[in-house]
């Protein structure tokens, strides 16, 4: 029972009895570090489950304040948190949930200037952003540093999820070489979203992150999972690495993070 307090034995008992986790796995989680980028609809369940699971350090990056239209799906935040920085609102809830976890917050946008510094030191990155520029930026930064990235996006009743293990499976650019444009990429504000869609996909991301940290199970590396909540179907699309991928292909054009590769016009964010 080395390394566990009596309270920890009780708090994590439902993990410890799982053959795939046990005490060793729980100790691994307690010494792991995960970075969640975005504390919104996806980030809320991700943060809750990682902190509840006892991931030792959970970093949260988000520049926004809590708005009224967030509360329909961003379950980390409450009515009393309106206008508060999302990272502060998140930290308050998460520290109450599990004092074993260090919650580190970064109230800043993810940019080409800071992305490498943000992800440094973390074992896994979870992409919960709402724009394509940040999505490509995180993909490239994680591929260049060999860091696992748990990816998901949601709109209306639909969601996509994949796990990117650099060198083992395709990256985001292998599957989506270019961001969609114009009417192909409406925001949640324009097109709407069922709050529970974000909850389902965020929960999938949390499970993937924990599996990656523990090295158990089969992740969504090489598989794109498409979820249709209206029909309640889960469809898998298998995909390999693209040899011509500009970041993880055989002759990559992107070998460092440069601002011109991430067009902010593609990433208008709305609450």
């Amino acid at each position: 029972m080395k390394g566990f307090t009596e309270n920890q034995i009780r708090r994590y008992s439902r993990h410890i009895v799982l053959p795939q986790i046990g005490g060793k796995g729980q100790r691994a989680l307690l010494s792991s570090k995960a970075l969640v980028v975005g504390a919104g609809g996806l980030g809320s369940p991700v943060c809750y489950y990682l902190v509840a699971a006892g991931v030792g350090v959970v970093g949260i990056a988000d520049m926004d304040q809590v708005g009224l239209s967030n509360l329909q799906r961003q379950i980390l935040h409450s009515t009393e948190d309106l206008d508060k920085p999302k990272v502060d609102s998140a930290r308050e809830k998460l520290e109450r949930l599990n004092p074993d976890v260090a919650v580190l917050t970064y109230q800043e946008p993810v940019t080409h200037d800071n992305v490498m510094g943000l992800i440094k030191g973390y074992d896994v990155v979870i992409d919960c952003v709402d724009n394509f520029a940040a999505r490509y930026l995180l993909n490239d930064a994680c591929v260049l540093t060999g860091k696992p990235l748990i990816e998901a996006g949601v709109l209306r009743f639909d969601g996509l999820a994949m796990t990117i293990i650099p060198g083992e499976g395709p990256c985001y650019r292998c599957i989506f070489p270019k961001p969609p444009t114009g009417s192909d990429a409406p925001s949640c504000a324009e097109a709407g979203i069922l709050g529970a869609t974000a909850g389902i996909l965020g929960t999938i991301q949390a499970a993937e992150a924990i599996k990656v940290l523990l090295g158990v199970g089969r992740t969504l590396s090489g598989r794109l999972l498409a979820v249709d909540v209206l029909a309640m179907t889960f469809t898998e699309l298998e995909s390999g690495q693209d040899a011509g991928c500009p970041v993880c292909g055989e002759e990559p054009l992107i070998q460092e993070i440069l601002g011109e590769n991430y067009d902010l016009a593609d990433c208008d964010t709305v609450d």
Partner: protein, 96 residues
Amino acid sequence: MHQRVAGRGKGCHMVAGPGKTETTVLDLRGEVCPYAFVKTRLTLEDMEQGSILKVIVDYRPASASVPKNIRTMGDTVVSVTRLPGPAWEIIIKRTG
């Protein structure tokens, strides 16, 4: 050799006789399910293959659930013996 580990129940210590395999004793009297199993598993995880753990429980459901769950983890339940009290002595060989 004698070692105690803090915790609910009466704790954990190791005993060994000359020429005998070292046995770890885990006294879980006062502990209930699922924590009797949780603590048994945590103790087993730190033990070498082939070593022996003697667990004592006084919670009747644990006398059945601990052996059942230990078997699913791949360790070997050597015996379950009822003691006065009542209590139960569960002998486990680390094989998982």
